[in-house]
C-alpha cells in the first residue's frame, strides 16, 4: 500500500521533473530538474529493492550531472552573488564546530552499538539467521554474478562503447594543429597605448 503510493509519487516526480527539464528557460534550473529526476528514479529503484543500482544512480548520474552543472555555470558566465567572500574567515570556526559534532556522533554510535546489553544476561540468545548465512545474495554479489557470467559479452560491448566515446571526445576536441591562430585574452587586455605606440 505504502509502496504503491511511493511508486506513484516517484513516478509523478520523474514525469514532472523531466517535463520541467525541457520547459524551463534557465539552463541551471533545467539541470537541477534533471538532478531531481535522477534522484527520484533512484528512489524508484529503491522501491524495487535494487539498492546498489539506486546508489550508483545517485553517485554516477548526480555526480556527473553536478560536474555538468559546473561546466554550464562556467561556460555561460552566470553571475553568482559572491557569498563566498568570507569563506576563509568562517572556515576555522566551522571546522571546529563541525569536527566536534561529528566526533560526538562517532563516539555515541560507537558506545551505543558496540556491545549487546543482553550479552551477559540470560536473555541473550544465539539466534542465527540461517537463511542469510546460507542463501542470501547481496545486491552487488548477484549483479556481479550476472554481469560477469551471463552478460559478459554485453559487458564487453559496453566497455567498447566507453572506449569509443573516449576516442570520440579526443578526436572532436584535440588541437593537433599548433599553427592555429588563437586569441590570447591576457595579452590583449594587457596591451596599453604606451607599449604599442612608439612615438619618438
Amino acid at each position: 500500500m505504502v509502496i504503491n503510493f511511493l511508486f506513484f509519487v516517484f513516478s509523478f516526480l520523474i514525469l514532472l521533473s523531466s517535463l520541467m527539464v525541457v520547459v524551463v528557460q534557465n539552463s541551471v534550473y533545467s539541470v537541477l530538474f534533471l538532478v531531481l529526476s535522477f534522484v527520484s528514479s533512484a528512489g524508484l529503484l529503491l522501491i524495487f529493492e535494487c539498492e546498489f543500482l539506486a546508489l550508483m544512480f545517485v553517485i554516477v548520474y548526480v555526480g556527473a550531472i553536478a560536474v555538468l552543472f559546473l561546466f554550464i555555470v562556467m561556460m555561460l558566465d552566470i553571475k553568482i552573488v559572491s557569498s563566498n567572500k568570507d569563506t576563509i574567515k568562517y572556515f576555522p570556526v566551522g571546522l571546529i564546530l563541525g569536527s566536534i559534532f561529528s566526533l560526538e556522533i562517532l563516539v555515541i554510535v560507537n558506545e551505543n552499538f558496540k556491545k549487546n546489553f543482553y550479552s551477559s544476561s540470560v536473555n541473550n540468545n544465539y539466534y542465527v539467521n540461517w537463511f542469510d548465512k546460507l542463501d542470501k545474495f547481496s545486491d552487488i554479489e548477484s549483479l556481479g554474478q550476472l554481469i560477469f557470467t551471463q552478460y559478459v559479452l554485453q559487458f564487453l560491448i559496453a566497455g567498447n562503447i566507453l572506449l569509443l566515446a573516449t576516442i570520440a571526445v579526443v578526436v572532436l576536441t584535440i588541437n593537433t594543429n599548433s599553427k592555429q591562430k588563437t586569441q590570447n585574452i591576457f595579452k590583449q587586455i594587457s596591451r596599453t597605448h604606451k607599449n604599442v605606440l612608439l612615438l619618438t
Binding site: F148, T149, Q150, Y151, V152, L153, Q154, L156, I157, A158, N160, I161, L163, L164, A165, I167, A168, V170, V171, L172, T176
Partner: protein, 636 residues
C-alpha cells in the same frame, strides 16, 4: 570462474573478439606514432593496418564455417547461423573495399588523424554484433556502438561548419531513434518477460492474434455454423474474422493425426466448403481480430458433438503437444458442443504491437526511409564524403538483418499489424526518392535520394510477408550495396584539379565531359548508373524485376504500379548524369587527379561483377536462397 567465461568454446564470436583486441592495439599504434614531434602522415599506415585487420577477420569467418551448427551461444545472445555469417562476410568485404577507396580523399582533405580508421573499425565491430545478435540488449548495444562512431565520423572534419552541423543533427535524431528502440524493447520485456528472439519465436508462433479476452459460444451443426457465418458476413458482421482454419480429422481418438486443409482469409465460398466438409470430422479454428478471440470447434461428421464429457477428448487435446503446439499453455475444455480456449497466460498483444511499431520506426530511422528520412540529405551532404560513402553503403545490410530477425524470425505472427503501414511507407519513400532526386544539383544529395527510393524497393520484398521473398530482399540489398560502392568510388575518384573548386560538395557539372578526359571511367560510371536504374544487361535489372514480381505475387498491385512508375521517373536523373558526362556541348572539360592502379583493379572487378551476375546470377541467388531458407525454417 570468470576465467572460464571466455573460453574457446565461444569461438563463434572469434572475429569480433579479434577485431576488438586489434582495435586496442591500433589505438596504441596511433597514439605512439602521433605523439612524436615529427608528425608523420599517419593515415596511410592506419588504413593499411585496418585493411589487414579486416582481411584477417574475413579469413577467420571463412575458415571456421561454424554456421553449419546453427547454434546460439553466449547465453542465447549470439546466434550463429547462415544469415549472420553471410552478412558479416559481406560487410567485411564492403568495408574493406570502402576503406581502400577513401584513402586518396582523406589524404587530399588533410584528415590526418589516426582516429578515422579506428572509428570505422568500431562501427564495423558494431555491425558484426548487430548481424549476429539474438536478443534486444545485444542488438541495442550494437546499434549504439555503430551509430556513436557514425556521429563522430560525420563531424570529423572539424574545420567545416557543415560537418559539425551534420554531426550534431545526426546525433540528436539518431539518439531519438535509439530511445524509441529502447522504449519498444522495454515495453516488450514488460509484457512478455523476455528479450530473446528465439523465445519470442516460441511464444508468438503461428497466426495467433491474442490470448484470452473472448467469448464465443455456438451450438449446432457444421452446416448451420457456416450458414450463420455467411449470414453475418453478408450483414457485414464478421468482416473482422481474419483467419478460419479447418483441420480435417480421420478419427476422434487420434487427434494428432490431422491435416490442414484450408487456411485463408474468410472470403471463400462458404457453401462449397460445407458441401465438401460435412461428411468429415472437422476442427474449425477461428481467429477474430475485433474481439481478439480464438475459437476451436470440433465437428464430427458435419454435426457438432453434443457430449464431449463422454468422449473426453479435452485431456487429449490439452496434452497433445503435436496438435496444440501453437496454443502454448492454453487449456481446453468442452462446453456444450464447442471447444473453448481458456487462456492461462494473459498477454495484451496490443502493447506488443505498439512496441513493435516503435521498434519499426526506429529501425526505419536508421535506414532513412521516408517519413523518417529528413535527417539523411543534410547529414549525408554535410559530412565528409568518405564518411558518407561508408554510411550509405555498409550499414544497410546489418540493419535489415536485425529488422528481419525481429519482424520475421520472432514476431511474424504480428504481421498484419504492420503490413498496411509499411505499404504506405513504401509508396511514400519511392515517391519522395524519385521526385526529390529530380531537383538535386549536387551529386551527393542525388545519391541520397536514390538510396531512399532503393530502400523503398527493398521494403517491397520485406512487406510481402512470404519467407521465400526474403531471397529477393537479400539479393536486392547485395546488389544495391555493390552498385552504390561502385558509384561512390567513382565519386571519390573524380577529384577536379582546380584550387578554386576545393569545396566539399560536388556539383553535377563537375563531371561535365568526363569522357574526354577519362573515357574508361566515364564508361564505368554510365554502366553502373544504368545498372542501378534497372537496365537489362546489368544485374540491377534482374533484382528490380524480381522485387516487382514479389509485389504482384502478394497482391500489392497499387504499390507495384506506383513503384514501377517511380522507377521510370528515377531513371531520368540517372540518365541525366550520363548526358552530362557524354553529350554536353562544351569545348573544354575538367582535369582530374589520376587514379592509382590498385583502385582501378578493384573498380573494374566491381563493374565486371555487375555484368557477370546478370549472365550468371546463380551465385547470388543460391546465396540468398540459403539465407531465406534459414528464416523459413525457423518460421511457421
Amino acid at each position: 570462474m570468470t576465467a572460464e567465461t571466455l573460453i574457446l568454446k565461444e569461438i563463434n564470436i572469434f572475429p569480433e573478439l579479434f577485431l576488438g583486441i586489434a582495435l586496442i592495439y591500433l589505438v596504441l599504434h596511433g597514439t605512439f606514432l602521433s605523439m612524436r614531434n615529427s608528425y608523420p602522415l599517419i593515415q596511410n599506415s592506419m588504413i593499411y593496418l585496418g585493411s589487414l585487420v579486416l582481411i584477417l577477420c574475413f579469413i577467420l569467418m571463412l575458415n571456421e564455417k561454424l554456421y553449419v551448427l546453427d547454434s546460439i551461444t553466449m547465453n542465447n545472445s549470439i546466434s550463429n547461423d547462415y544469415s549472420s555469417f553471410i552478412s558479416k562476410t559481406l560487410i567485411t568485404l564492403l568495408s574493406l573495399i570502402c576503406l581502400l577507396m577513401i584513402q586518396p580523399y582523406l589524404n587530399a582533405k588533410k584528415l590526418n588523424q589516426f582516429e578515422y580508421v579506428l572509428l570505422l573499425l568500431f562501427s564495423i565491430l558494431g555491425l558484426y554484433i548487430l548481424c549476429s545478435s539474438n536478443d534486444l540488449i545485444t542488438a541495442y548495444l550494437a546499434i549504439e556502438l555503430q551509430t556513436l562512431s557514425f556521429y563522430v565520423l560525420a563531424a570529423f572534419n572539424r574545420n567545416s561548419t557543415f560537418s559539425i552541423d551534420a554531426g550534431i543533427k545526426y546525433f540528436i535524431l539518431g539518439s531519438l531513434s535509439s530511445a524509441l528502440f529502447l522504449f519498444g524493447s522495454s515495453l516488450i520485456y514488460g509484457v512478455s518477460g523476455t528479450i530473446n528472439f528465439s523465445e519470442f519465436k516460441d511464444l508468438f508462433v503461428g497466426p495467433l492474434k491474442e490470448y484470452g479476452n473472448y467469448q464465443y459460444v455456438y451450438t449446432g451443426s457444421l452446416s448451420e455454423y457456416f450458414s450463420t457465418i455467411s449470414e453475418s458476413h453478408s450483414l457485414g458482421m464478421s468482416k473482422f474474422i481474419s483467419y478460419l482454419s479447418l483441420y480435417l480429422m480421420s478419427n476422434i481418438e487420434d487427434l494428432s493425426n490431422y491435416s490442414l486443409i484450408k487456411e485463408e482469409l474468410v472470403d471463400f465460398d462458404v457453401n462449397v466448403l460445407i458441401d465438401q466438409l460435412c461428411v468429415f470430422n472437422v476442427i474449425v479454428e477461428k481467429y477474430d481480430v475485433l474481439l481478439g478471440s480464438h475459437v476451436m470447434e470440433y465437428f464430427k461428421g458435419g454435426i457438432a458433438l453434443n457430449n464431449f464429457y463422454d468422449s473426453s477428448p479435452s485431456i487429449t487435446l490439452s496434452n497433445n503437444a503435436g496438435f496444440l503446439k501453437f496454443l502454448g499453455t492454453a487449456e481446453y475444455f468442452p462446453l456444450g458442443d464447442i471447444f473453448f480456449g481458456v487462456p492461462l497466460t494473459y498477454f495484451n498483444t496490443e502493447v506488443i504491437a505498439f512496441a513493435l511499431m516503435l521498434i519499426l520506426i526506429s529501425l526505419f530511422f536508421k535506414l532513412a526511409i521516408v517519413p523518417f528520412h529528413s535527417w539523411a540529405p543534410d547529414v549525408y551532404e554535410g559530412s565528409p564524403s568518405s564518411s558518407t560513402f561508408f554510411f550509405s553503403v555498409v550499414p544497410k545490410i546489418a540493419i535489415f538483418i536485425l529488422t528481419l530477425r525481429i519482424f520475421y524470425y520472432s514476431f511474424h505472427s504480428f504481421f498484419d499489424t504492420w503490413i498496411y503501414l509499411v505499404s504506405y511507407i513504401i509508396v511514400l519513400s519511392v515517391l519522395v526518392g524519385s521526385f526529390g532526386g529530380l531537383e538535386q544539383r549536387k551529386l551527393k544529395s542525388l545519391l541520397v535520394y536514390s538510396s531512399i527510393s532503393h530502400m523503398g524497393y527493398a521494403l517491397i520484398a520485406f512487406n510481402s510477408g512470404i519467407f521465400n521473398n526474403l531471397q529477393i530482399l537479400f539479393c536486392y540489398l547485395i546488389v544495391y550495396s555493390f552498385s552504390s560502392l561502385c558509384i561512390w568510388s567513382i565519386f571519390i575518384f573524380t577529384r577536379v584539379k582546380n584550387n578554386r573548386l576545393k569545396k566539399q560538395n560536388k556539383d553535377l557539372t563537375d563531371l561535365v565531359a568526363l569522357y574526354k578526359s577519362n573515357y574508361t571511367l566515364a564508361g564505368f560510371f554510365s554502366v553502373i548508373l544504368f545498372s542501378i536504374a534497372g537496365f537489362p544487361p546489368m544485374i540491377g535489372f534482374l533484382v528490380k524485376i524480381n522485387v516487382f514480381s514479389t509485389a504482384l505475387e502478394s497482391s500489392m498491385y497499387f504499390v507495384a504500379l506506383i513503384s514501377i512508375l517511380c522507377s521510370v521517373i528515377a531513371t531520368f536523373f540517372y540518365i541525366r548524369i550520363v548526358k552530362i558526362i557524354y553529350f554536353e556541348k562544351i569545348e573544354v572539360g575538367k582535369l582530374y587527379y589520376p587514379i592509382t592502379t590498385e583502385k582501378v583493379f578493384i573498380l573494374s572487378g566491381l563493374l565486371w561483377l555487375s555484368i557477370f551476375l546478370f549472365i550468371n546470377p546463380t551465385l547470388l541467388f543460391l546465396m540468398s536462397y540459403k539465407f531465406s531458407l534459414l528464416f523459413s525454417y525457423t518460421g511457421c
